[in-house]
Symmetry: C2
Subunit: 402 residues, 2 copies
């Protein structure tokens, strides 16, 4: 019998505790695992000796599964060489033989370095990481847990906000919805999944993969406004110009914080100002921020199921002697949708980013293709609502009082 | 037989089409109503002669009920004296005898002036308006349809975003969530409904009813940060200083748009900057904006039911000869929750605002009271989730390798 250590790391999702529940359920079934230890606040817990015995906490795993963010706490901390020694020392003192990191790129790097260092020192340790990121930008897996729920939020929010603009475009004709994702447009293009015809929002989308210019944007908005009398825009917070410079970091220092950090998040406000100033059209923005990653009202059941299955599968793999790998999702079929679970070497994951492939967006980048729809629809869970629209047929009004 | 005219007006909610469905269902059952006519884009449709015969559109009323915003289109337009004449002229030519306006304060004013003008001209017209606003600021009614669903969004979003901050406070310790409502803090204090203990978000709330100072805010944030290592803040977009001046409109012109309009919406960004600059603590904000009013994933079933019941009841009242009134909700019991339907004179509604009463918030304004919890919990529908939290008990780590 040996202990199993689980770490949650990096930016949080609404599905990462489902993976934790999967690990705990699976570990509880094994006679080879003594305790399940949770590292408090990401890898910091391991470095500081702040580990929690999850086996004695009598958690209701169904409630854990539905809890957003990281029940263990999370952190962003890149291991230094000294850290690796300290981490392995604690692992050896506790006779931990199994490690899972629930995380993204950086966690794959952490897992890879732990597994490699243990092997170099002749300590038998099995490390299998579990993918997690709303950004969906990990290689070697069809998609990442957390994406489906966040994508569902974005699709639903843009549909619903789009109906607001459609209803009251005489007052508020332009709405920019700023969507997260630092390096890739996966979450932004999820906005297109609820769009069924050209009346529907979003009328325009902008992702980091396509070079952005403010002038081009203003032309697009004017053209869309002329055509529809309104424009609802899904905008990645991380759009960049042709030199790769973030748009929000250009020009004025309006969107630079007091430390001089040029923070993501100001681009929609800046563009609203330009739409008002240059085009004379009133524009507002929504910035759901954290809420798009967390809102459990938009949990995708498919996402939660897969997150938990990956947790379960990761435990099965370490028990079978697998190490230095991440469990992955391998799509077998779109309809009926099914993913098998596979795994990939951590070296192939760490510090690599998978951007949106060209075949998932139209040439101008403003709409999704049917290929992306096939890819994304199963991931967001239950079908999105289908809202009716009135036929705009006006009655004849009698020319005089009856 | 005579026609019935229905108008949707003002800012949109996720429940206002449920009232429309109630009107249509109820009208379809009456032999005295010929057609149900919808005014396209608020009162503008009536003024422009753009009316739609809803009876011939074969709408699926269950889908109408669940569609956010205004299926008929909405507008903000205050009737001028000439407008009243034009509107009544169209009404008389069509022999419309029944009018419903689904709206807030301004709609009560519109309804009141239409009913009064018709009476003055000796034209028999029955006008009963149906309350609608996420702001919950109408007098004479326990609450307004649209509020329950928006309040559910706010409560859930702040709970869930709060879990994110709790998980990763070592990276992002302060989060400001900017919540709508121009004159009253009803929607902001809904953030408190999901809070079960002092660990839970929101740690601080700021509403327009309590004078706001940036210095006091910074003190509160520092104190909360010292105590909890984090602060999640529910902030009304409309907080004002002791002179009633909106905070976002103070000082710098940073948050003034290019037309010189001082728009609501910039206060959270400004305060994040102050937290970073004055306290040296990293702060971010979420601004759900439109999404808080619209997201159907947060529909409160109680809200939709009441919105539809009020639509039904409004038709029953005009058929019974009632005019110049708004249907209202009268709470009979908190537990089990039930509201009867009543009505009030439009003169008592128009252009009046009901702010949050003192007994619904604590003296410092930063938390809700049990009285508000009793008031609000039934309105948001199904119970909010109850997330587990780990006991922070760390295991002992052996001093040497076993």
């Amino acid at each position: 019998m040996a202990d199993l250590l689980v770490i949650q790391s990096g930016g949080c999702t609404a599905a990462m505790n489902a993976s934790l529940a999967g690990v705990m359920r699976s570990a509880a079934r094994s006679r080879r695992i003594a305790r399940v230890l949770g590292s408090y606040r990401g890898v910091l817990g391991l470095l500081r000796g702040e580990l929690i015995d999850l086996s004695e906490q009598r958690l209701d795993l169904d409630r854990v599964r539905h809890t957003p963010a990281a029940l263990l706490g999370s952190a962003r901390h890149r291991l230094l060489p000294d850290d690796i020694d300290r981490a392995l020392d604690t692992i050896r003192r506790l006779d931990v033989r199994f490690v899972h990191v629930i995380g993204g790129n950086d966690s794959a790097d952490t897992g890879h370095r732990l597994a490699t260092a243990a092997a170099e020192r002749g300590y038998e340790l099995f490390v299998v990481t579990i993918p997690k990121t709303v950004d969906n930008d990990l290689p070697e897996t069809d998609h990442t847990p957390g994406y489906g729920s966040a994508a569902r939020f974005v699709a639903q929010a843009v549909m619903d906000a789009g109906r607001d603009t459609e209803s009251i475009s005489s007052v508020d004709p332009v709405k920019i919805i700023e969507i997260g994702g630092r390096d890739a447009g996966w979450l932004t293009i999820a906005a297109g999944v609820g769009r069924r015809d050209e009346q529907d929002a979003p009328h325009l989308m902008y992702i980091p993969e396509t070079p952005f210019s403010v002038e081009g944007f203003l032309d697009d908005v004017q053209r869309t406004f002329d055509r529809h009398g309104r424009a609802v825009i899904a905008l990645s917070e991380a759009v960049r110009d042709r030199n790769g410079v973030y748009i929000h970091a250009n020009g004025s220092d309006l969107y630079t914080d007091s430390f001089g950090h040029r923070q993501l998040g100001g681009v929609a406000a800046m563009l609203c100002d330009r739409v008002a100033h240059d085009l004379g059209i009133k524009a507002k923005f929504d910035k759901p921020g954290t809420i798009q990653r967390m809102l459990t009202a938009c949990h995708s059941t498919v996402d939660l199921d897969e997150a938990e299955r990956l947790g379960t599968a990761a435990v099965e793999r370490v028990l079978a002697g697998v190490t230095n790998r991440m469990v992955t999702l391998h799509r077998v079929s779109d309809d009926p949708y099914h993913c098998d679970i596979d795994d990939a070497h951590l070296h192939a994951i760490a510090n690599r980013v998978r951007t949106v492939p060209a075949e998932f967006v139209t040439d101008d980048g403003h709409a999704i293709t049917s290929a992306f729809r096939r890819y994304a629809e199963p991931l967001i869970g239950a079908a999105l609502p289908d809202y009716p629209r009135l036929a705009r047929r006006f009655i004849t009004i009698p020319s005089s009082i009856v």
